[in-house]
C-alpha cells in the first residue's frame, strides 16, 4: 500500500462480457499491480475531460469505487456490474479506451494462514473475495458461499444460493451460513455484499465466535479521505465514531461495526 495514490490514465487492455450486465475490464501496469493487496479498490471512471465533456453536452461525474478483482502478472481486473450512470459509462468502454484511476485506495483484508476460512459474498461483493481467495488459498482451507438474485448473479464458488432458486439453493445466502460455519468448523469469515446480508452474517458469526472481516460499501465523493461522505459507524455502543470506508476501510472487523446505526 502506497501512501500517495496517483491519478492515472491507462488504456484498457482487454474486456470480458458476462451475462446479467456484468463485465470485466483489464489493465496492464506492473507498477500499480505491485501496490495492490486484496480488499483494496480504485476510484475509476471512463475518461472525462471537462472541456470535451461540455462540447458533447456531458456533465463530468464522480469516479466510482471498484475493488481489485484479480491481480496477476501485472494485470489488474475490475469486475463490474452496470447499475447506473457511472458504471454504464464504464460498460461502454472498449479495449484501447482510456480509464482514469486513482488508487489503490483503502486498507486490505488481514491475511491469515492455517485456518478454516469461509468467504461469503452477495451479488457484486464477489470481486474482492476472489482476489483474496487467490492470495490465501495455499495457506488455508477455504469454503466459498455466494448468493445472488438470480442465475446471472452467481459466479464460481463452492455453494450457491439464489433468491429466485434459478440455480443452487433457493433463498438468501445467509440462510446457509450457520450450517456451513458449524459443519466446516469455520474459524475466520470474510464477507462482502449488500448491507442486510453483512448485518445478518455478523450476528451469526458473532454467535459462533468466528473472526469476521467485512468489506463495506458506501457512496463516495473523494475516495481519499477528505469529504467524510463514506462514513460508517465504528466502535462500541458508548464510544463510536464515523470512520471512512475509503480510508480506514473498506475492510472492518465486523464486531466493531455498529450495525444498529446503519
Amino acid at each position: 500500500m502506497k501512501d500517495t495514490p496517483e491519478l492515472r490514465s491507462i488504456a484498457i487492455y482487454s474486456r470480458e462480457e458476462l451475462c446479467g450486465g456484468y463485465f470485466v475490464l483489464w489493465i496492464w501496469d506492473d507498477e500499480l499491480s505491485k501496490q495492490c493487496s486484496p480488499g483494496q479498490f480504485f476510484e475509476i471512471r471512463a475518461q472525462a475531460s471537462f472541456h470535451d465533456a461540455w462540447d458533447s453536452q456531458r456533465i463530468p461525474k464522480l469516479f466510482k469505487p471498484i475493488s481489485v478483482y484479480d491481480n496477476s502478472g501485472g494485470r489488474i481486473g475490475f469486475f463490474i456490474k452496470n447499475v447506473g450512470a457511472g458504471t454504464s459509462a464504464l460498460a461502454r468502454l472498449k479495449a484501447g479506451d482510456m480509464l482514469e484511476l486513482i488508487g489503490p485506495l483503502g486498507n486490505s483484508f488481514p491475511v491469515v494462514s492455517g485456518k478454516r476460512v469461509l468467504l461469503l459474498s452477495g451479488g457484486i461483493g464477489y470481486p474482492p473475495l476472489s482476489y483474496l481467495q487467490k492470495e490465501i488459498i495455499n495457506h488455508n482451507l477455504i469454503f466459498w458461499l455466494h448468493g445472488g438474485a438470480t442465475q446471472a448473479d452467481v459466479f464460481p464458488c463452492d455453494e450457491v444460493w439464489t433468491v429466485d432458486g434459478s440455480i443452487g439453493k433457493q433463498g438468501m445466502v445467509t440462510q446457509g451460513l450457520e450450517d456451513v460455519i458449524i459443519n466446516k468448523k469455520i474459524e475466520v469469515l470474510y464477507s462482502c455484499g449488500p448491507l442486510p446480508m453483512l448485518k445478518q452474517a455478523s450476528e451469526i458469526a458473532f454467535r459462533h465466535g468466528v473472526e469476521h472481516y467485512t468489506s463495506m460499501e458506501a457512496y463516495m465523493a473523494c475516495g481519499i479521505g477528505v469529504c467524510h461522505g463514506c462514513a460508517v459507524p465504528i466502535g462500541s455502543h458508548d464510544d463510536w465514531d464515523y470512520l471512512r470506508v475509503c480510508k480506514e476501510g473498506p475492510v472492518f472487523n465486523a464486531n466493531d461495526v455498529l450495525w444498529s446505526e446503519l
Binding site: E6, I59, P60, A221, C227, C230, D241, Y242
Partner: protein
C-alpha cells in the same frame, strides 16, 4: 507582483484560486502542486468534536452533488493539537481556518483559542452549513445577528475575517451589507443550496436526513447571480464558489465581481482541477494582457 496576484481584504495572495471548505485537504496535494492556490481553507471545525450526520450522506444528481456530512470534525482542541501543527508544517500557502459555532459566544471562544496559535492567515466564519440544525445557518439568514457576530469577532483579531454566506435567503445583499458593516474583511459565497433526491422506485430519500446541501455545476447560475448581487452591494472583496469547474467558469465569476474563486465539488470530479484552472487562467490573462483588476467586476449588461 505576478499577473495572478489578487487582494482579499487584508491579504495579498499570489493566486486568485482557493478551495472550498470541506472539499480539499492535504491529501489533495498528492495530485497537484499547492502553489497553484492563493490560500488553503480547511474543513469547518466546531468547539467540540462532531460525529456528523447518519448515512447515506452523499448522492450525485444529474448535475451536481448532494451532501449531508453534518460538519463531522475533531473539534477545536484536537484541531489545535494535531491538525494545525501538521498544516503549519506542510502548507506553503496561507491557511484560512473555517469554523462554526452555535452561539456568538462559542464563535468568540473558538477564535480566542485560534488567536493564540501561529500559522493562521485568516478565518472563515461558516454561518451557512445547511446540514446541522443549530449551528451556523440560523445565523446566516439574519442580518442583525451577522452584524453582531462580525463586530464582536473582528474586534478580537487582526487577521483576515471572511464571512461565508448561505444562498438560502430572500435577500443576500442585506446579509452581505450587515457583514461589511460589522467589520468583515471579505465575504465568501455560496455555501450549498438546500437540495434533495429520492429513489423513484422505492420512495426512499437518497440522503438519510432527507434534505442535504446541493453543490456542483447545477448551482453555477445561482452562485453567479448571488456573486453579482453581493458585489454590487458591498465594497469588501468576495470569494466566489458554487459550480466552478474550469477556468472559463472562474472567469464568469471574476467578471461578476469576485476577487477570488474557490473549487469545491470540482476537486472530487477532477483532482487536477485547481492546477488546470491556474494554468488556463494565467494563459488567458497573458494572451489578453489583462491583470485581475481589468476583469474583476467589469461585467457588461
Amino acid at each position: 507582483m505576478s499577473i495572478m496576484t489578487t487582494k482579499l481584504g487584508k491579504l495579498t495572495l499570489d493566486s486568485p484560486i482557493t478551495v472550498a471548505s470541506g472539499t480539499f485537504d492535504i491529501e489533495n496535494f498528492h495530485f497537484i502542486n499547492q502553489k497553484c492556490l492563493g490560500a488553503f481553507v480547511c474543513k469547518t471545525i466546531t468547539r467540540y468534536p462532531k460525529k456528523g450526520n447518519p448515512t447515506p450522506r452523499l448522492y450525485e444528481s444529474e448535475a451536481g452533488l448532494i451532501n449531508s456530512i453534518g460538519l463531522q470534525n475533531p473539534g477545536l482542541d484536537l484541531f489545535v493539537h494535531e491538525n494545525l501543527p501538521m498544516l503549519r508544517d506542510k502548507l506553503e500557502v496561507p491557511l484560512i481556518v473555517s469554523f462554526s459555532g452555535s452561539s456568538i459566544a462559542e464563535f468568540e471562544e473558538i477564535m480566542a483559542t485560534l488567536e493564540t496559535q501561529s500559522g493562521i492567515a485568516g478565518y472563515e466564519l461558516n454561518v451557512s452549513c445547511p446540514n446541522v440544525d443549530n449551528e451556523g445557518i440560523a445565523f446566516g439568514v439574519d442580518p442583525e445577528v451577522i452584524h453582531q457576530l462580525c463586530s464582536r469577532l473582528c474586534s478580537i483579531t487582526r487577521r483576515e475575517v471572511i464571512v461565508k454566506l448561505t444562498p438560502n435567503v430572500t435577500d443576500i445583499t442585506a446579509i452581505a451589507l450587515a457583514a461589511e458593516a460589522g467589520g468583515a474583511d471579505s465575504i465568501a459565497l455560496i455555501n450549498t443550496v438546500f437540495g434533495m433526491a429520492i429513489d423513484w422506485k422505492t420512495g426512499r430519500s437518497r440522503i438519510k436526513k432527507g434534505i442535504g446541501g446541493y453543490s456542483g455545476i447545477g448551482i453555477k447560475p445561482i452562485a453567479l447571480a448571488l456573486t453579482y448581487k453581493a458585489a454590487n452591494a458591498v465594497k469588501i472583496p468576495i470569494t466566489a464558489m458554487g459550480g466552478i469547474y474550469t477556468w472559463e467558469d472562474a472567469l464568469e465569476f471574476f467578471w461578476a465581481g469576485a476577487s477570488m474563486v474557490a473549487l469545491g465539488t470540482a476537486n472530487f470530479i477532477d483532482p487536477l482541477s485547481a492546477a488546470k484552472l491556474q494554468e488556463g487562467l494565467s494563459a488567458f490573462l497573458i494572451e489578453h494582457r489583462y491583470s485581475m483588476r481589468d476583469i474583476i467586476g467589469k461585467c457588461i449588461l
